[in-house]
Amino acid sequence: MAAVEIHQHRYDAVIVGAGGAGLRAAIETAGKCRTAVLTKLYPTRSHTGAAQGGMCAALANVEDDSWEWHLFDTIKGGDYLVDQPAAEIMCREAIDAVIELEHFGLPFNRTPEGRIDQRRFGGHTRNHGEAPVRRACYSSDRTGHMILQTLYQQCVARGVTFFNEFQVLDVAFAEGRLAAVVAYELATGDLHVFNTKAALFATGGFGKMFKVSSNAHTLTGDGPGLLYRRGVPMQDMEFFQFHPTGIYKLGILLSEAARGEGGILRNASGERFMERYAPTVKDLAPRDMVSRAIQTEVLEGRGVGEAADAVYLDLTHLPPEQIDEKLPDITEFVRTYLGIEPKTAPIPIQPTAHYAMGGIPTNVSGEVVVDGGGTVFPGLYAAGECACVSVHGANRLGTNSLLDIVVFGKRGGAAMAAFAAATDLPPLPDGVADDVVRRVDVMKSGSGSEKVGAVRADLQAAMTEKAFVFRSEDLLAGALSAVGDLQARYQEVTIDDKGPTFNYDLTEALELGYLLDLAEASVVSARARTESRGAHFRTDHPTRDDEHWMRHTLAARQEDGNVVLSYKPVVTGAYLPMERKY
């Protein structure tokens, strides 16, 4: 085994990931406790920057609105798996969160009076479902880019300490609390041990377990994956959002804002089919319903495209200047990748894996809770897509992810700073980096015949075939067996690059391990849930079953690798479950 250089650091707090949630948390801890932000990328590369449409808050700048209506929509959109007190916090604090981003300098689009403009978005309605409401605050169709840039700018202003291109691979616990995180430095191959009082994970999603995906190549679930291996259960992993409008075959996201601005979905005969599925809000129904409608149109022979497996997103009736002003980026994607002019021709689209509703269980302070009784693991925090608060329940509404990252990034950062101020640095356990040293060495010295790219491609194909918009016992059993085979093949992976410098061959191999584990947790959770709720639709159990399934799933990985499920109740509130009609 080659000697690995191991560097030691001490901090009050460590933030893992520098997208919207991590950066917002860093702003909160700045000046309160000595914080290191570790990211495997550069902060501005984070996938928050790919979010397009907007961030909802009931500012009522352009029409009547209230945070209670936003709350109702969020709960109904989440098919009543939402923890209502948490969602109430999010929808109430949304208003201040948007105002704060404006004060940070975010260039929101404006009304003629100079106030923040707002537009319609899927599932967001006036007065409990009467009609679509203009609630999404936005900046052209690059709202996520603006949030990411603005938060990074504020971190620069505050002198936040970044360790760029440091990939966190492990955590260590001591005396029943978090004691350290272990990171791999991409530029050198050195390891860095950060002895710390607390760590907040904000590593984003894991949509790269699917073939057709809107996710960045780097969204591999590193945070949830490494915590899962250390015994932290994963919550509600069966709920993965498939966004209705991904660019055909590529999966690149075309924002719901396209429909918010008036875009229409059409099948092969040109019919506006959403009128049949959601007569009131039509194309602006929540994403789970629209994705199912599209897949139904395709299955019933009304699809378009080479394999008749897509439908059209039609913007051709919109004024060209509205497209240029409100949807410039997504229409440029269509020109670049499909060679289609969206002003004159409809765009072939299909559902694309987009967002993990599930993840690391937390409370509303971002503290990680490790059981059904709300037990907090001291020093461990999570926020953003990698976390599950749960404010999105079984199906997240559009724009609520940008809201989630700023609201709970801030709350997690504040809670972590308070915790760090009241506690001493924990002792550093012996051999804290041993396991990472071993994993790197195993990967570099492997002699098997498997390649990372091939195993990953087979995982993505299996998950897209068997655990996508429509699921069943047969499909999920097949998915589980496929993942099991792939985990065996993963043991035979060999990498070409044995060197220390920017060895992405190595990091991709380690990331694949997380994707496999999380895919297994997702499929096991999905197979057990014999009902249909939100994004989890079972053709063999096509209705929601509140009597048995108004509960969150917790999937834990045992020492022997087996996945064990347990459940905890949904935290209910004023809104009682009712049938979801739109």
Partner: protein, 239 residues
Amino acid sequence: MALVDVELKIRRYNPDVDPKPHWQTFTVKAEPTDRVLDALHTVKWEQDGTLSFRRSCAHGVCGSDAVMINGANALACIELVQKAAGPKGGRITVEPIRGLPVIKDLVVDMEPFFAQYRSVLPYLVNNDDPGYTERLQSPEERARYEDTTKCILCAACTTACPVFWGNSGYVGPAAIVNAHRFIFDSRDQAGDQRLDIVNQRSGVWKCRTAFSCTEACPRGIKVTQAIQEVKRAVFTDKV
């Protein structure tokens, strides 16, 4: 769509074994509508895992994969094979962006670039208490700086600038773009400080209006125009 043959000629360098950079050619199958990034992935995932390059979003918004393709800066995830090699395939040369130290293969040291970015106070400065509501800004005021808010810090502009190649002390187009974004924002109060910064010897006066930056920008920002507007603001002392 039919697959075509693509010869990818890549500038390689591994500091752990290579005394100096060298070229290596790989042949891959690609669809004409594939991204150059897809072809690089085919090399890495099927032929040679030691090839290193940065990438993340793969659709032109994260700014990770600026490289030089056939001698011109571009994002590998926006440039399509049919453009770079032709619709029937052919050769594509890929090399690291110029003017920043190469670390390995297509990976360059981005720290000098981000240091220049940080030097222009790239954040809103406004010391007035805004209260509980948003600051007002008219659509016209917003339009004044919207173009430069699109920057993704990919460094394609700065590393396409012949002045920057000759003088790495030059703050470069990207930093000026980010100064512009705040100088022309009606809410900002630090315009004078930023104008002083870009008025230094390493600042805007180094620009020779070569337009290389504008051609290189994958976001279509009118970079040269932004630099000219900042020059005019320095010269007239008003925005």
